[in-house]
């Protein structure tokens, strides 16, 4: 009996192929993964988007397989969490590796490419980002490279779906073959070999600098990089705040208030007699107001525009450049510049921001970013609520609240930096190419994020709705209000109905703000309310993620500190404000 038959028996027909998708950070693995599996995973133009692995099923010419999107690594020495995951997956064994190479940085990519050959797993290389390489005047001889590597190399432009069919075809064919493990090379030998290969296969044509290349250079110089960064921030704010306001005023609010709500009111009035149940549905804080008007008319436009702008910046490769520019200042509060990305993401939602710190940072830095974001960064939903509350009445108050949040961040950063032992990781990163974001990729990402928002927002919102409707309509709220009135009225100077804000604010951050809309507050009360809401408890989902990523103790601690500061700062503001107003008036 020949060995071949044995082998065929070892690998039964119906067994799913296991395919590892590997490569350096930020080379397009997740794009390849989404295109091949049809699953949607988040990809961004900076290292460390994928920190855990994702599985997806693929079928190609009747063969089934599992594709695994492995986190990007520069090497396999298990010095970071991502590398540990990658090594563990490799040791488990697989039928095939698809190794994605960045054609614009071939030399650096070949390090991992050669390392992978030491495993007894067949490899097919995907030479990706060829469109960008061409723009930069880099020419690579694919056939020669394939010869040098001793494995097939498929040219691809993943984002445009180019070459992926060919990649799959080759992958499926190769997965049936056996491979002997390659020789282990010492570092020096491998680097020499890499240099040889690059000299043989790559030509750099001198081209005149394109505008993008000039921009790439400008954006990492203090001048004009810092002014450019400020312009980008201002423009982004303009789009989110201005655009959101326009969307809200021109389309969503009229639609909800003049069409949808009256319609619902009518239907409910027809079907349900006046009384508690009707109030629970369409009353002032009824289910339809909290469940439809608030999330869709007031919050959604801002969340949508925030993610539109943020995703665009993310895919353009611009964000790490802000990190480089800001590193000098951020390091004074113990945070490496790169962490400005999760902090900015926190202005969208704290949950992905906290998860995003997993990538490359130390435990200390993770706690720092998590506390900053939970403490003082208003999420997009809460910002939407602030705009609704303060935007029309007092722009100055709005600006004041945001300046206060930045001041609080710096203070908290300084304190936490002192309290928590450990070090922040020094910056050492490859600045990604600037790319014009791909429309389809952007659309897809926006869709995922909006879906998350709708699920995350509507789920807890339902809980909030039920609680609010019940406590408000049954009189329980009145009792609670009376109970905490001395504190709310005396110390915070707010009307006692504010207790509803405090109650709902536990569930979601914007719910701490929105009930204030209906209360006819003075400017002093508006700002006090906004301050309390800003620093108040992080929402339930954030609490959950804090427990999961750190521990219950950390989550409780952060919750306690934020809430105490909320009441302390809000109260102080009210007391001092009253005194000043007393003098002026």
């Amino acid at each position: 009996m020949s060995c071949h038959v044995m082998e065929a028996q070892e690998r039964p027909r119906d067994k799913k192929l296991k395919i590892l998708l590997m490569g350096n950070p930020n080379v397009g693995k997740s794009v390849v993964f989404s295109k091949l599996t049809g699953l949607q995973v988040v990809s961004s133009n900076y290292a460390g988007t994928t920190v855990d692995y994702t599985l997806g099923n693929i079928t190609f010419s009747n063969k089934e397989g599992v594709l695994i999107d492995v986190p990007g690594t520069y090497s396999l020495e298990a010095t970071s969490e991502a590398e540990r995951v990658a090594v563990a997956l490799l040791e488990e064994g697989a039928d095939l590796i698809i190794c994605v190479l960045d054609a614009t940085h071939l030399e650096r990519n070949l390090d991992l490419a050669l390392k992978l050959q030491e495993y007894p797993i067949p490899i097919v290389y995907s030479l990706n980002l060829l469109d960008v390489a061409e723009r930069q005047g880099i020419k690579i001889d694919v056939e020669k490279l394939s010869e040098e590597l001793g494995s097939p190399v498929i040219p691809t432009v993943a984002i445009k779906n180019k070459g992926l069919m060919e990649l799959m075809r080759t992958a499926m064919k190769l997965s049936q073959e056996k491979k002997e493990p390659g020789p282990k090379l010492e570092d020096e030998e491998r680097w020499k070999r890499i240099k040889e290969i690059v000299d043989k296969v790559q030509i750099q044509v001198d081209k005149e600098l394109t505008f993008i290349e000039k921009l790439e250079n400008w954006t990492i110089q203090p001048w004009p990089g810092i002014p450019i960064a400020l312009l980008v921030l201002i423009a982004s704010l303009g789009v989110v705040v201005g655009g959101g306001k326009a969307l809200r005023a021109a389309i969503l609010l009229p639609l909800v208030r003049q069409v949808i709500m009256p319609l619902l009111n009518k239907i409910v009035s027809l079907v349900i007699p006046a009384g508690i149940l009707r109030n629970v549905l369409v009353g002032e804080f009824g289910i339809f107001v909290i469940g439809i008007e608030w999330p869709f008319a007031l919050i959604l436009p801002y969340v949508f525009l925030f993610y539109l702008v943020f995703s665009f910046l993310e895919d353009s490769g611009y964000l790490p450049r802000i990190g480089v520019l800001a590193d000098g200042i951020l390091r004074r509060i113990g945070i490496q510049g790169g962490n400005i990305i999760p902090i900015m993401l926190g202005y969208g939602c704290a949950v992905p921001a906290i998860i995003g710190t997993r990538a490359a940072t130390t435990y200390k830095e993770r706690i720092m970013v998590a506390s900053l974001v939970s403490f003082a960064v208003p999420c997009a939903s809460q910002s939407g609520a602030f705009f609704a509350l303060l935007g029309d009445k007092s722009i100055l108050a709005l600006i004041f609240v945001y300046l206060l949040s930045i001041l609080a961040m710096l203070t908290v950063g300084k304190i936490v930096n002192k309290v928590i032992p450990g070090k922040s990781q020094p910056m050492l990163l490859e600045v990604p190419n600037l790319l014009l974001p791909d429309k389809d990729a952007l659309k897809k990402k926006l869709k995922i994020r909006m879906k998350h928002f709708l699920i995350d927002a509507e789920g807890p919102m339902l809980i909030g709705i039920v609680i609010a409707a019940i406590v408000a309509e049954t009189g329980i709220l009145n009792e609670i209000s009376k109970l905490i009135a001395p504190f709310v009225e005396g110390w915070l100077g707010m009307p006692k109905e504010t207790s509803l804000s405090l109650l709902l604010g536990i569930i979601r951050r914007e719910l701490a703000v929105l009930p204030l809309l209906e209360m006819n507050l003075t400017t002093l009360q508006l700002i006090t309310g906004a301050i309390v809401a800003l620093f108040y408890l992080p929402c339930l989902s954030v609490f959950g993620v804090l427990v999961k990523e750190f521990s219950l103790k950390v989550a409780l601690f952060i919750g306690l500190i934020t809430t105490t500061s909320a009441f302390l700062l809000g109260g102080l503001f009210n007391q001092i404000g009253s005194i000043i107003l007393g003098f002026v008036g």
Binding site: E77, D111, Q136, Q221, P222, V324, D327, G337, L428, V431
Partner: protein, 71 residues
């Protein structure tokens, strides 16, 4: 001379550097030639250009990298 003291747009070669895994895989090794692309205020990172790759190196690390100017 430490890299941290290098001048923008000058070309240097690395003489000696701390043993760091990430530095190595990013291609910052003994003998590597590069140009300083930018320096940042407040002791921010030094951005060096190795071939066509820009790499941002923390100021404190840059203090420990010995370089020599290449004519």
């Amino acid at each position: 001379m430490p890299l941290a003291e290098g001048r923008k747009l000058s070309i240097y070669r690395i003489e000696d550097l701390p043993d760091s895994h990430l530095l190595k895989v990013l291609g910052i090794r003994k003998g590597t030639q590069f140009i300083i692309q930018s320096k940042q205020p407040f002791k921010g990172p030094i951005v060096v250009k190795v071939g066509n790759r820009s790499i941002a190196i923390d100021y404190d690390i840059a203090k420990k990298i010995e370089v020599e100017e290449v004519a």
